[in-house]
Symmetry: C2
Subunit: 360 residues, 2 copies
């Protein structure tokens, strides 16, 4: 069966928690390495999680990829962003030219970039580029509806967004990608993400809603009010992830949720980037709670609600560097740390191999 | 004048604070890059610090090196370590064979490793190895004296340790190394480091003294008592760094202090690793307070006193991953982040180059 033939029910049914036996075996290997017990801290937790996910004591992250999901948001009509909507498409051009933050950081760790139009209002104008990045047009629609006036999208569109993300990621995994990072682009997308965070993580809007790309105090007040109104009018059901996505979400957020489900289904680690990607992770975790086992939180964003989302998922971020760019940049930076964890696990000598005396 | 001809007074006199004009110029460049203002957080602070240190808007960290300073400690006679003293020399063999934590992590960022015997009790037995790492014998003495009974070393030895570290690092910088990481190896060396931290950072022994490689409760109690006795008997003068180093320090810690002074003198960034390296940084900062401007704190160690040392220096660690191995491993992992910061600064397009619309 090819990824495009699977239904969401089949995908969810195929997701199982990580088997603790693999973690236990991996911990034994860590204990044999030539250093005081677990002296590299989180690096050991990460490599052992990868052993659990990949069911192997030879975890591998050789082929790396990012799926950068882009879409537009009707909610920008309410003045919730500091940038005009055209920037979404303009940034796609920058990704394809190789000049954005994600290009620089993914380049450093030698990761591929696949940019997906999940629902940009216009059609990005791409001029010839030899940056080697791939562009895929998978528009669910030309931007969401302003969710103050009604649902952001239909239930069918929500499911299509998730399945599209699943299929794209599943194809990459079947093609040999061993670790995937999620990324986003979409002017206005901290607004649906905060709405999803408030509904699923059950946090208040004061704590969950931040300045996104850098709005001023009046716009921040308006952003909180708009989210409050959207939730009040649409009444999303926190236990029904597709309902939340349809009522206050976005197409790229649905796509990201699908990528995460693909990682869980195909037993491949997925690095969650920042605020928007973690909104996608919240959707994925409601659909399939065991999917959390395959998630790695790349970093903690400067966007204040991100910490609350991560806490709700029980994820501990790898980096905490005050970043808030999105695009997958936090995940790309963390990918270097994850690769280091794998190398330590695989390449360090044991006490025995090194001929070093053990603890007294 | 070659590095080996400079006196400590000349080195200290040649260290100046970073010129804020360079930081200001670098901030202007950051503001032009195609993203919301300073959206990559700490990465911008790091690249701008490098511009300030290197006095350039083209900061570069292409050639990277680690100086791993090793020595033995008389204080181990008091039972302050979980490992026997032979392990210091055995680990040198492992470094030269390419199988230790620092080899794996420095390898990932393509950094050279120079291992220095600053005062190991025995002579490390090195068998042929093609790992490409360099070993240098610069013994100040065969281990320090047990500082419970008197000073760990003489004043002359303390100065020699610092000058040796300076000379080795200065030669690397003059040879083209653009960024240096400090590393350490020395069974028992969290004990002198905690003593230095208590004296210079003025912290209590409960907070400053931790389990090092993993000692149990009775040994931890003994370690605190030994440090208390050593400080009481030797009365190190917190304002006189060489006096502190001589009375309760170690040869590798002096060497590390010298490396840091070399970075400050030659305007090259130095990544401080964990607890032992930061004890060296405390010595360097008392000798030349402006040296702090060229320091980057690679990570915050699991060793509890490390946070207090960093706070005293006003340094914010880049990583916080519960690591406590030393060798330079935290610095090596942070080197990838620092390189990412440099790449972002140099390689990202500006709004103008990308043709992306700015803030409303």
């Amino acid at each position: 069966m090819t990824p495009s033939q699977r239904t969401l029910e089949e995908i969810i049914a195929g997701i199982e928690p990580v088997d603790p036996v693999w973690i236990e075996r991996a911990r034994e290997r860590t204990a044999s390495l030539v250093m005081p017990a677990r002296a590299l801290g989180r690096l050991h937790d990460i490599s052992e999680q990868l052993c659990g996910i990949q069911q192997s004591l030879q975890p591998s992250v050789s082929r790396k990829a990012f799926l950068v999901m882009a879409a537009d948001h009707g909610i920008v009509d309410e003045g919730v962003s500091a940038y005009p909507q055209d920037v979404t498409g303009e940034m796609i051009k920058t990704f394809m030219a190789g000049g954005a933050g994600i290009n620089v950081l993914a380049g450093q760790v030698n990761a591929e970039i696949h940019v997906v139009d999940m629902g940009i209002k216009s059609d990005p104008v791409l001029v010839g580029s030899d940056s080697g990045n791939r562009f895929l047009s998978r528009k669910v629609a030309r931007g969401t509806t302003n969710f103050v006036r009604g649902p952001a999208m239909t239930g069918e569109q929500a499911e299509k967004a998730v399945l599209t993300g699943y299929q794209l990621a599943a194809e990459l995994f079947e093609d040999g990608v061993e670790i995937l990072g999620t990324g986003d682009m979409g002017i206005g997308n901290t607004t649906p993400s905060a709405a999803i965070g408030a509904v699923i993580a059950g946090a208040g809007l004061e704590a969950m809603v931040g300045r996104g790309t850098g709005i001023d105090d009046p716009a921040l007040k308006r952003k909180r009010e708009v989210i409050r109104l959207g939730i009040e009018r649409n009444r999303p059901d926190a236990a029904d992830a597709l309902d939340v996505l349809a009522k206050v979400g976005g197409f790229e957020i649905g796509g990201i949720a699908g990528c995460i489900l693909a990682g869980a289904y195909h037993r491949r680690p997925v690095i969650i980037d920042g605020f928007i990607s973690t909104a996608g992770a919240l959707i994925a975790a409601v659909l399939a709670p065991a999917a959390v086992d395959t998630m790695l939180a790349g970093h903690c964003s400067e966007e204040p609600g991100h910490r609350l989302m991560l806490r709700h998922l029980g994820l501990k971020p790898i980096l905490d560097l005050g970043m808030r760019l999105g695009e997958g940049t936090g995940g790309a930076l963390a990918m270097g740390i994850i690769e280091a964890a794998v190398r330590i696990f695989r390449d360090m000598l044991t006490f025995e191999q090194a001929g070093v005396t053990g603890k007294k």
